[in-house]
Each structure stands twice: as structure tokens, then as C-alpha cells.
Amino acid sequence: MELLDDSLNLAKELEQEKRKNDIIRRISFELGHLSSLKEKLDNILLMLEERFGLKHSMLLLPDADQQSLKVFASRGFEAQGLGAEVKMGEGVIGVVALRKRKLRLANISRQRQYVQSSAGIEAEAMGYALPGLSQAQSQVAIPLLANDELVAVLSAESEDVNFFDREDEEFLMTLSQLLAISIQNAIILEQLEQKVKERTAALEAKKLELEQLNASKDRLFSIIGHDLRSPAASLQNATELILYYQEKGDTQQLSQLGCRISRAAHTINTMLDNLLNWSITQTGDLRLQAELLPVATLFEEVLDIYQEMAVSKNIQISSCCPPGLYLLADPNAALIILRNLLSNSVKFTPAGGKISLKAQAQGSQTQIDICDNGIGMEPEKLHQLFQLKERKSSRGTAKEKGIGLGMVLVREFMRLSQGSIDVKSLPQQGTSIRLLFPTS
């Protein structure tokens, strides 16, 4: 009789083991699928209900700083409570997370009553908003660990006083590592996807930057190949003409050629200057030495260069600078900026026009205004003033040539000088440029 009992028990145990093995096999198979974290968590709870009868369950994941846990998935509760938080070390789930040990509670309401009455406090609603059964009597909470690191907490509840037994608890522990690794994989996958997204965006940005650089480089080649050619050709043409007029003995034509040569040489010089400066700023080799510069002296230097050209175009340049006014900048940078701006004003102001150069202190800064009543710019032109683009350059009022690099340089050097530039322009009315330089 006893033998029969024993073999019956054995058969029962064997049946149970088979059932458990079957669950483990199915769950490992299902968990093998790659899926998003949310899908994976929902799937785990679904499987635990279907195969193991856990009707009210949730999965909580710790925050990055391990200070609290958040509900990422729940099943079988009135309120899903996703995102609800519990502090590490608080309540069943918090304690399980902190200690990384499973916990099973039975007869919860009476236990809670007992704790409350022995502490002499009134029963009140639970202090945290986790999803839960209002009449929960049993709860089991399992830490899901991978390499001793807390990946998640699985919690299941029941309204029965003693729903979970030790075997359930042990079996869930057996499953726990499988679940932990599967969740961790999903988290890693999600992080990887995020990384890939970030890297792709970074690559896109880099690509755009390179494309712009490439466009700048193309523009440079085009400047060298085309824009510089015409003044150079003009020079060459002038030298041929020198020979021709010399043979003819025409001294009047010869002296007029001098002016043309001078203009062509000046254009080449300015272009080469700008090209060189621009390439220095682009390669990052530029070393600016800021010092306090007297504005009046700067004005004198640039006026000296353009006075002659202005006179030949019948343009009047006035300058006004209070004595003792200084600005802080690298001397070469300041000259490049002023030279380019004044050159533009002369270039785009027709005969009989006026240009004014004004400086004044503006708080802790020095303000320089360069205004002309020239041909001005359309808003569209103004918009791309600081961009290095193919065919941006405009002919001056006396068909002066440029390479569209001047304003790019001006802005770059103003930026490097910690200053600012503001351009206002209206077609046929003129252009006003306001520069603000630091003084300390």
C-alpha cells in the first residue's frame, strides 16, 4: 500500500517536473526572439499568465542611479500604472530590489494591520501609487539579476490569502535569470539602436559639413581659376600694350596705361590677400594677438589705401573719430575688416556718392559705422552675404570685380575678435554696417 502511495507521489512529482520543464522550454523559446523592451516585458507577463497562472503581475526597472524603480509593464490590474515609481528599499518591491532577494508575503492585510496597530498608527491608504489589487492578500516579488546586477523586479499578487507557495517561488527563481538576461538583452538592443541613431545623425551632420567644406574648396579653385585670371590677363595685356605704344612712341597712351596697371595690380593684391587670410582661418593656423589699437590710426591707414580710388570715382569719404578711442583686436584682423568694408563701399557707390566712417564709444565697446549711399542690396543678396558661394560676387558700379570672399572674411575675423557685425541695406539707398569691438 505504502509502495503504491510512493509510486503515485513519484508519478505526480514527475508530472509536475515535466510541466515545469515544458514552461521553461516554451519561455526560453519565446524569449529568444528579438523585440523592443516594451514588447518583451509585456510578452513575459503574458507568458507568465498563460503558462503559470500569474494573473496580476508587473515588472519594474530600476532608474540609472538605482534610487527608485518604475513600472514598465503590468497586467491584470485595474489601473496599468505605467511609470509609477517606488523608492529603493520601500515596500515589498523596494526591499526586494535593495536586498536583491526574493520575498513572499501571505495574509498581507492582517500583517499590515498588525504592523499598524503595534506601531500605534491609524490604517491609511498606501503611500505609493503602484498598480495593485485593492484586496491583495498574497504577493511574491522576485529580483531579476544578471551578473548580480538588478535588471528588474517581477511582482505578482493574488487576492487569496496563501496563493503562492514555496514551490511557485522557487520556480520563479529558476526562471528569473532567464528573464533577467532576456530583459537585459532588450535593454542593450534598445541602447544600441539609440546609439546607432545618434551616430547616424552625427555622420549626417559631418557629411553636411564636409559637403560645405568641399563647396568652399571648389569655390576657391574657381576663384583661382577664373576670377584671378581676368586681372592677371589684364596685366599681361597692359604689358603687351606698353611694348606696342613704346614702339609707336605714344607717351600719352603709355602714361594712361600706368593707371590701368596699378588698378589691376591692386585688384590682384587684394584678392590674393583675402585668399591667403581666408585659407589661414580655415586651416585653423591663425594666431590672433589682440591689442588695444587707436581707432584714428586705423582709419588713417585704410583711408590712405582707398582715398585715391575714391577720388578717381568722384566719391567723397568723410571720417569722424573722437581722440583717444581704442578697440581691442589683432592689428592685421582689424585692418582686413576695415579694408574689405571700405573697399565694398567704394565699389558699390556710384560717382558723386558719399561714404562716412564714424567711430564712438558704446558702453564698454567701440562702435564703428561705415555708411554709404550706394546701390545697396536686395534682401536676398543680403541674406547670403556671409556665405561662400559660386557666383555670389557682384560687379561694382565701375564694373570692379570681386571674388565674394570679403564679407566671409570680415565676419570670420569679427567672430575671432569677439566682436559683432550688423548689416543694413536697401536697394538704391545704400548700405550701413555697424561693427562692435571689445575694448577689454
Binding site: 515589498v92 523596494g94 501571505a106 498581507i108 499590515r112 498588525y114 504592523v115 498608527i121 490569502v161 496563501n162
Partner: protein, 155 residues
């Protein structure tokens, strides 16, 4: 010295009620231990004076051993040091059956898996209420015998 402290609880011995004494914890009792709150513990120290006290946990270790939670003991602890044999009464909440356990206190533990799990139970229930309960120690006890003194019934 009074060697039968259960008399103080006014419960008839199994000898008279006809129920069997067992020397190990049965699965039914184990279920009762899981959900027991509170349990009564009767000790007897010097001078034949029994002391009845209420404890929060009797933790199942194995069929032969349980652990008693030491949170706020006073006289119970003094009595146990003099006389380690004592009686615990456990009520099983589903059938309301009552179990009597004759136990012998063996050693005190303030760390290790048994202590930790008992401590976690206390913390899990008290932290949400902002009560700072702690477990002083786990008292490991040997099971001398258990008997069901009231069968209870399925309602």
C-alpha cells in the same frame, strides 16, 4: 519550575483531546506559519512565573527548525536564557485551526539568509507606512513536537 507553560494559555493537551503529537512540521502547519500574524509565545523562567507574549513571525527553516523574530522582547528573552524550552500557539487563518508547537531555543542569529529574509518581511510591511521597525535577531529553535489543538473547519 513550571515545565508546561501551555497550561497558562488554558489549552488542553493533545493527550486529552486525542490528537496526535508529531515531531516535525507538516505542510499544513507550514502554510499556517507563512501567514501567521500574530502568534503567542509562552515562556517560563525562574520562579515558576509564565510569561505570554505576542510575536510577529515564526519562520520555517526546515521540518525540524523554525526561527522566532526578536523585535521587542523583554521578559521572554530573560526567560529563554534561563529555560530554552517554550511553547508557541499558531493560528491558521483559512480554517482557523490552532497549532501548538513545543520548541527549544538554540541560538541567536543577526545575519545570514534566515535573518535577512525575516528582516525583509518586516521592512516590506513597515516601510510604506513610514514605521521604522527593525529585527534585533532571529532565534533559531528546534521543534520538539507539534500538535493541532483545534482542527478548524472549511467555511
Amino acid at each position: 519550575m513550571n515545565k508546561h507553560p501551555e497550561r497558562a494559555l488554558g489549552i488542553e493537551s493533545a493527550k486529552h483531546s486525542g490528537m496526535a503529537k508529531l515531531n516535525k512540521i507538516t505542510p499544513e502547519l507550514r502554510k499556517a506559519l507563512d501567514s501567521v500574524i500574530p502568534l503567542m509565545v509562552c515562556t517560563c523562567g525562574e520562579g515558576d512565573n509564565p510569561n505570554i507574549s505576542i510575536m510577529s513571525q515564526l519562520y520555517y527553516i526546515n521540518e525540524q527548525q523554525v526561527a522566532l523574530s526578536y523585535q521587542f522582547m523583554n521578559k521572554t528573552w530573560r526567560n529563554l536564557l534561563v529555560n530554552p524550552v517554550f511553547t508557541a500557539l499558531v493560528l491558521e487563518p483559512e480554517k482557523m485551526s490552532i497549532w501548538r508547537l513545543r520548541l527549544e531555543y538554540l541560538e541567536e542569529k543577526t545575519e545570514g539568509p534566515i535573518f535577512e529574509e525575516m528582516e525583509m518581511q518586516i521592512l516590506a510591511l513597515s516601510t510604506p507606512e513610514h514605521i521604522s521597525f527593525s529585527l534585533h535577531s532571529a532565534l533559531i529553535c528546534k521543534v520538539i513536537f507539534v500538535e493541532e489543538v483545534f482542527e478548524g473547519s472549511n467555511l
